[in-house]
């Protein structure tokens, strides 16, 4: 389970409505309306992005009265389906999905099996992307793609659809670059 103890708060006096915060919010918790940023409370995971990107220093983190608790119990989904999804994504169920929150891939996979269709939805079910917000984005996209979800590039630059892995490297490239262990390194990922 991931506890979110803070919440982003906008100082509307300072906010110029530039929208930079909305572009870096991993859960679309920020909308710019009437030239002011607004934070949707239950969607804010209190990552550092909006606070640190704001050129006016108009956003700060404040403690929540009660922490928000996120988490998906992977045992609630069909375990065969879960393992199959992870296998397709070339991700071990027990490897880290998000090191910041100590969340494992199996939890993200369970979120997908429970209906998450975007990286944002996985984040709001599991609590991931509340830290660096970066590495778990990649794992989320890989799980969604493996499940057959057609990822649709959001407007702006919240994320870019690009998920190349070792398993996308062609035979031609493997032969072209023999010193890079492009075939051999597949074996060092945990088999399951």
């Amino acid at each position: 389970m991931v506890e979110i103890k803070f919440l982003a708060q906008v100082d509307t006096e300072k906010c110029t409505g530039c929208g930079k915060c909305a572009n870096v919010c991993p859960t679309q918790a920020i909308q710019v309306k009437d030239k002011k940023a607004q934070v949707e409370d239950p969607q804010c995971l209190a990552c550092p992005n909006c606070v640190d990107i704001c050129p006016e220093e108009a956003i700060r983190k404040i403690p929540r009265v009660e922490p928000l608790v996120f988490g998906v119990d992977y045992r609630e989904v069909d375990q065969t389906e879960l393992v199959e999804l992870c296998r397709k994504a070339h991700l071990h169920p027990q490897q880290w999905l998000c090191l910041c929150t100590a969340t494992r891939v199996r939890d993200g996979a369970a979120a997908v099996l429970k209906g998450a269709k975007t990286p944002e939805e996985i984040a709001l079910m599991t609590g991931i992307r509340s830290g660096c917000s970066a590495y778990c984005l990649m794992t989320s996209m890989r799980l969604l793609e493996a499940y057959g979800v057609e990822l649709e590039q959001p407007k702006g630059y919240r994320w870019y659809k690009t998920t190349q892995t070792l398993w996308n490297v062609s035979e031609e490239m493997i032969k072209k670059y023999p010193g890079y262990f492009l075939e051999e390194d597949k074996d060092v990922f945990r088999p399951f």
């Binding site: 990107i53 100590a102 690009t162 051999e184």
Partner: protein
């Protein structure tokens, strides 16, 4: 051989606590000269506190043979930098190299529209702090700017499909790659394309950094910077690279070239010579207390001229490409059969004292594997609110000050061997008993590296040891 320890200065940052007492000031801590134990490690021309005009002269000299006539007076140029260069010995040498590059380009080409880009890891405000601290915006006439992993991207078509650089990095006619040769994270780069790694890290969007870090293996990941660097888009803008050359002694020179693979080869040989022995010396440690006492995140904090990451993974020879690390803290890799078992964190570190460090990377593996003591409530408050380490605070204890933290650590670890990662180059800040142990083990290490390990490292990278003056 044993001198007063001289830690690096710590720059003020919102990501760290106020600077307090330093580990070097504790009774019994000494500075063990690197040259005294390994006289063949390349000597420094600059160490912290020295005259930076030496760096200026070395940069000017290195740039003399670099082709820059593609830059015309009406063009725009971005000098690309990374935050870590500004952490090496206070950052003044790196800042001086960058300033000199600008002045040489202006003087030789007549181009005046030269901008500075400062890239970083996850500390979003850090480039601003750097630009302010070194007065770079004034120097670049208002044209110094951060380049952040979550800002607007620019597509880069590669042999492996589209990847994304940072738009601010590439928004000029030409780019200059201003970097350094400090070893930093050997577990990632393995001295394969080390010189161009920033093209898939510092200069890349977070998705591309993730492809490098997570979607490829411990050796194969190093093809990603190559694919990006060799893309028509990057090649259409690339001019040359200019690097601070380092060893555990300090800055040993400046290297510049239009051919990045030539720089890479020189860096590789230099890394083996410079860092091979210090890494092996750390591999000799059987028990110690490590003290974090500098700027940056623990993994990248310098002790004895090399990063803490090289102690946490010292028990595996990461220059050896046949070795496959299972580290990274991400749990990505299996324990390969017939390979040495590498723990998440080197078990010779019996306790960790966090006197000063900066937030900025996920590092739960430290606290969850080593008994860890935070120093002071300012540090504890920072850690408790760190969104990149939700559970870190649950694994650690807090001591009121450095002295009590050390007393507790000694009782816990039952050792008097202490090593501090305090940014020092040229000397290892450590307790006298550990210094004596290092002095005893250094000849064994030196022999092992020269006669057993170095030839293998070179051969694996296609270099005949007989052709290299090591």
């Amino acid at each position: 051989m044993l001198n007063k320890a001289s830690p690096s200065v710590i720059r003020d940052s919102r990501y760290g606590p106020p600077v307090g007492k330093r580990a070097a000031d504790l009774p019994g801590m000494v500075g063990l000269g690197v040259a005294a134990i390994f006289p063949d490690i390349p000597k420094a021309l600059y160490v912290e506190g020295g005259d930076v005009s030496i760096i200026r002269k070395a940069t000017e000299s290195a740039l003399e043979n670099v082709k820059i006539d593609m830059i015309r007076p009406q063009h725009t140029v971005n000098i690309l930098t990374s935050q870590y260069g500004f952490m090496i010995m206070g950052g003044y040498a790196y800042a001086e190299m960058v300033k000199t590059i600008k002045e040489v380009i202006e003087r030789k080409t007549g181009c005046s529209n030269i901008r500075l880009r400062v890239a970083t890891g996850f500390r979003i405000r850090e480039p601003e702090e750097i630009i302010r601290h070194y007065k770079l915006d004034e120097f670049f006439k208002g044209k110094a700017s951060p380049a952040l992993f979550l800002e607007k991207g620019v597509p880069i078509e590669t042999e492996l499909g589209t990847m994304y650089g940072l738009a601010k990095i590439y928004d000029a006619d030409w780019i200059i790659h201003a970097h350094h040769g400090e070893l930093r994270e050997l577990d990632m780069h393995r001295m394969m394309n080390r010189a161009i790694k920033p093209f898939s890290m510092s200069y890349a969007r977070m998705e591309t950094r993730s492809i490098h870090h997570m979607n490829f293996g411990p050796r194969s990941s190093n093809i990603i910077p190559k694919l990006i660097f060799e893309s028509p888009f990057v090649q259409s803008k690339f001019t040359f690279g200019c690097f601070l050359q380092t060893s555990p002694q300090g800055i040993i020179g400046v290297d510049a070239d239009n051919d990045m693979y030539a720089i890479d080869r020189r860096l590789m040989v230099l890394a083996f010579k410079s860092y091979g022995k210090i890494r092996e010396l750390y591999n000799e440690i059987r028990e110690c207390i490590a003290v974090m006492d500098g700027p940056g995140e623990p993994r990248y904090m310098i002790g004895g001229g090399t990063t803490f990451g090289n102690l946490t993974e010292a028990e595996l020879d990461l220059f050896d490409l046949d070795n496959i690390p299972v580290s990274l803290g991400y749990g990505l890799y299996q324990y390969p059969p017939h390979q040495p078992k590498l723990k998440s964190v080197n078990p010779s570190i019996k306790a960790l004292v966090m006197n000063h460090f900066w937030l900025g990377v996920p590092q739960l593996e430290l606290a969850s594997h080593i008994p860890t003591i935070l120093v002071g409530m300012d540090m504890a408050d920072l850690v408790a609110s760190d969104s990149m380490n939700h559970k870190f605070i649950d694994y650690v204890v807090t001591a009121g000050n450095l002295e009590t933290a050390m007393t507790f650590a000694r009782r816990l670890a039952n050792t008097d061997k202490v090593i501090a990662f305090d940014g020092a180059f040229g000397a290892i800040t450590c307790s006298e008993p550990l210094a004596e142990y290092f002095i005893e083990r250094a000849p064994v290490v030196s022999e092992r590296v020269d006669n057993q390990l170095m030839p293998g490292w070179l051969r694996q990278r296609g270099i005949d040891p007989a052709t290299v003056n090591v």
